[in-house]
Symmetry: C2
Subunit: 307 residues, 2 copies
């Protein structure tokens, strides 16, 4: 889901050059080629990356493969606890993706509303905003935003905050995962969704966001759109089955997907941000000078073999 | 691609109620239910809608069905002329979708670079901004933007402008269609793309946008992602064949797709904008108060039988 090499909108010509990595952060090439995000990442060190906690990582197993979701227990602890209890009770195994709305969300739940909710899971208070200590952990970027006074990152996730109220909250960028609810503000985690379109930031602070897809978003974004209202599948459209949804820590290490996420507090990430604000590649004729929160790449990679 | 009824992020409960249209603009219901976008559209008149000109409408025929694209000759006349010449010379028929990059673009072109470009088509000057008269036609909205001093609509397309330079340009929202190019600013229209992810506004004014998908975007957004760099298909991945790309006017009327687009200058559209800025539905616990350009719905509908 990261497009750090998308400078060209023409054909494959020049791709090899674009993807050549310098291996040294900020090094100048013989032809003074501008530094790309790939260059910056190639110059990163092991310390610039963090390994998501398997205890707070979900594997959503679909017929097409595994979707890896990093949870945000520091932002939505009640919902994350519910979701882990549900996963460990095999609540989602055999349920289905019930809704795929183009340019909006994929949603998974119990299509028949028949499955009993396991003990220990009940409606919990709304977690539209993080607990108050989160405000201080927030890492602001200087770019403007349409929906919030300040945007940046919270525990590695795209987020926003309001200096007037000292509230901080996660932002509905592409790939973010949340929990559906009915009209009351409470929810229990038995319905989950992932954003597969333009960031619907208008629902920020209206639902509990609980994490982000680190790998496999294309398994969700390419699903057939539902023909019902709001993209719900309606007969004879078959819901997409969920083989299982598990907590990564419950799998033997050999069966886990080894991933690292670039630390948002690392100097390399700040360099990536600057590179994306100010496009120095020759393809760019107009330099945007800004970056919108949901256009900031949050690099994820397979853990290199020597780490 | 319009999601005017997406208030609920839970299951299908309440959908019937959500989709009941009043039939009268702004009428109050017995239960004082807030007005929805569907209500507003149900209260519109024939004069609130416009029929895209068949001479400036493209039909991109894929194995899965027809993608309808409205062109913007008032913004990118040179590229639109090239594209229509290409379509009429059957240039795209039998070519392919060569690139599908998740959360970014679908691109179509000649995968082998073998097909001769027809007479009358050559590289034309960059049309990153519209001609100067476009500035006065621009309809601003009052909402903030990250990338431009002002945003709004130009000839019915999402757009931006700069009061300092009197420049206006189309914006890379979901579903917008543009022409790829190499490093030089000129392009000829033989490579086209559509946005299928979060709006890549950083490439505004870096490529010529030529139109917007009115119908069938899901035929593009659900295509398998390419595994090559930047989402290019690489063997053994088969490129998706283009059956044909035609100008709608060249088809008998009975074979056209009859669509209408809500006029951005209509009072109904302004009411839609206000409804989307200020969410009064009971599901919304936090009112965003703003709307970002690319989250503004641009309603398209089949032409009602009695029009």
């Amino acid at each position: 889901m990261i497009d750090e090499s998308f400078a060209s909108l023409r054909a494959a010509s020049g791709i090899a050059a674009l993807c050549l990595a310098f291996g040294v952060l900020g090094a100048a090439s013989a032809v003074a080629r501008p530094v790309t995000v790939n260059d910056l990442l190639a110059g990163s060190t092991a310390q610039d990356w963090r390994k998501p906690d398997p205890e707070n990582t979900l594997y959503l197993q679909l017929p097409g493969g595994r979707v890896v979701i990093e949870l945000a227990p520091g932002v939505a602890p009640l919902h994350v606890a519910n979701i882990k209890t549900l996963a460990r009770a095999h609540y989602f195994d055999g349920l289905a993706i019930v809704r795929v709305q183009d340019n909006y969300v994929v949603q998974w739940a119990d299509p028949d509303h028949h499955r009993p909710v396991p003990a220990g899971v009940s409606l919990v208070a709304a977690e539209f905003e993080a607990e108050k200590n989160a405000y201080a952990r927030f890492e602001p970027v200087r770019d403007r935003d349409v929906y919030a006074p300040e945007v940046g990152f919270l525990d590695g996730f795209p987020a926003a905050r309001d200096p007037r109220t000292h509230a901080a909250w996660l932002a509905h960028c592409y790939g973010m995962v949340g929990v559906g609810r009915d009209d009351p503000p409470e929810s229990d985690g038995t319905e989950m969704y992932a954003v597969i379109g333009h960031a619907p930031r208008q629902i920020d602070r209206n639902v509990a966001l609980v994490g982000r897809v680190l790998k496999g978003i294309e398994l969700l974004s390419t699903l057939p759109r539902g023909s019902g209202e709001m993209g719900f599948y309606v007969p004879p459209e078959p819901p997409v089955p969920i083989i299982s949804m598990k907590v990564a820590a419950d799998l033997p290490e050999a069966e886990r997907t080894p991933l690292e996420v670039l630390r948002t507090e690392s100097p390399v990430f700040r360099a990536v941000l600057d590179q994306r604000r100010n496009r120095r590649e020759s393809w760019f004729k107009f330099n945007p000078g800004h970056i919108e929160l949901c256009n900031i790449p949050l690099p994820v990679r397979a853990i290199p073999a020597n780490h």
